[in-house]
Symmetry: C2
Subunit: 321 residues, 2 copies
């Protein structure tokens, strides 16, 4: 297997490429990555060989596209140190709720907001606290339901780096309502730079975890690091849980949630201070995960006119019920 | 315009039909409903005329399919009396949080779990508190971003009844973690029975709301009623808010959230008693909304083996950070 990318050719057509030694080799026919992985092994081997004979594009010269277009994106919260840090600045006694330890909770995200590495991220309107989240995303290989743990690995197509951009002030307001975030997290997610198949990561495997160093930098300065082995549930366990009595689709994204120190908000919650400060226009956020590559995006000026709606019309009074 | 349904023919093929006088008229070519609505008006009128010449199927004899397959489903919470009732049994002082009044919050749902009227709903594993939610869903007509209020109506394809099935005990546990529900709401949603275009509802229009009577019955006994005019935000406002700095796709579902008394859990929260009791295997839940039709589903035996995962592996200690 290999690392496969989608990238934009000079004519605007999306190509599929194999990543080899820092270069992209175009795969004839430019199949979707999941079609390639789900097709016959001998066809893929033949295409890999033919790709090796093509002209090679250095990855630093490539304009990447998103490796897969998920229909559903589930974002988990499997790093204990991250939730422990965040809870220090939320209502409650500051401890991790006991329910967190029982099963790997997740939320669904906006599948229309997936962006590739290299894309500009417009500053969302109405936020003064733009932040990132350093995560790893598993890409699901087949549409499945009720997956038992011993079969989970065969349904994993591969892994990408995932950045769940978050407007913390908007998110914080929304979470007081009780249903989780909505506009605080629906505007952008970075998925990339390419898909790495599980066998490429065998050298990092420890039991059912991958020991991959993770880091995030702002304008080249590292501000957070963790290791993927610190997941409190494995990717296989995340798929078992998500698929219990529910369909999980081919191409769906199941992301880990934020690694510890993988978001500014965790630092803010631990220290009570806005240090490092929220992201500003012009900032470049770079995330690197061992074995998976690097994703990088720049914050640019707000692109939205920021249409608002009036507050709730009152429809409820003691006379109604 | 009209009411359009998707239904299953005797050969297993999904047909598209126009609903007229309690009967389905097959539309030649069986286009997707959104393709029909987004195509030229004269083509649609011609197809409507030709549909009228086809053999007619009484709707009670039809096996319905889902009218549209959304990529993203957003569920709002726009009925003040419902949230006011629910908060009586949640942590806090029992009042509606002030943040709720500021903007129409929503959460994303599992797009793979949409089921048509008539489908059996298997009892989810591990719940003793299966419940329903009486809602109306708006179907988005075009893929849009940053929609201003004066243009919102033109991007609404139509409306369906929506039942957001919910396992309240699972949901309640998950919501203590702070990110909203996950397994408590990812297993089933009913969307149907068909799509009703906005012009069909003009007679019910009051300012920017629709005055449609809504009701839900268990085994034929009405247990909840409300009126769609009690939305605290309009459908147009929901679309403005959802599309602010984010893509909303053609075919996406934007649902109102539960009407007041449109879920058993609201009654449980108000009374402190499990009356009426949670849904049981064999129960039939029927929802009717004036102008939109009726959806009905039966609860059947659990179909999932209920695979579980171990509790969190501890990875966080005072030595780590």
């Amino acid at each position: 297997m290999a690392q496969y990318a989608r990238y934009v050719g000079p004519n605007g057509i999306i190509h599929t490429g194999r990543v080899q030694h820092g270069k992209l080799q175009d795969i004839p026919g430019d199949p979707e990555i999941l079609d390639l992985l789900n097709g016959p092994a001998d066809v893929r081997r033949d295409l890999d060989v033919r790709a090796g004979r093509q002209q090679k594009l250095p990855i630093q010269d490539a304009t990447f596209a998103v490796p897969v277009q998920p229909r559903a994106m589930r974002d988990f919260l499997v790093f204990e140190a991250h939730i422990a840090g965040m809870k220090k600045n939320e209502p409650g006694d500051g401890s991790v709720p006991p329910q967190w330890y029982e099963a790997p909770a997740f939320l669904f995200m906006n599948p229309w907001s997936v962006l590739p590495t290299g894309a500009d991220i417009p500053m969302p309107p109405f936020t003064q606290k733009l932040d990132f989240e350093l995560e790893v995303a598993m890409i699901v290989k087949h549409t499945v339901r009720d997956v038992p743990i011993e079969e989970a690995a065969e349904h994993i197509a591969g892994f990408c780096i995932f950045n769940d951009w978050s407007a913390r002030d908007i998110q914080g307001n929304e979470m007081r309502i009780g249903l989780g975030p909505s506009k605080g997290k629906d505007f952008a997610n970075t998925l990339g730079p390419w898909l790495t198949t599980p066998d490429e990561l065998e050298q990092y495997r420890e039991d059912d975890r991958y020991a991959l160093e993770m880091s995030v930098a702002i304008n080249g300065e590292v501000v957070g690091t963790d290791n993927l082995r610190n997941m409190s549930w494995s990717f296989e366990e995340m798929l078992v849980h998500a698929s219990r009595d529910a369909w999980v689709g081919a191409g769906d994204v199941l992301a880990t949630g934020t690694a510890s120190t993988g978001a500014l908000s965790e630092r803010w919650a631990r220290s009570g201070q806005l240090t490092p400060p929220p992201l500003q226009v012009g900032d470049v956020v770079t995330m690197t995960v061992e074995g998976l590559g690097t994703i990088e995006n720049r914050i640019v000026e707000t692109a939205s006119p920021g249409h608002t709606v009036p507050p709730a019309r009152r429809t409820y009074g003691p006379d109604r019920l």
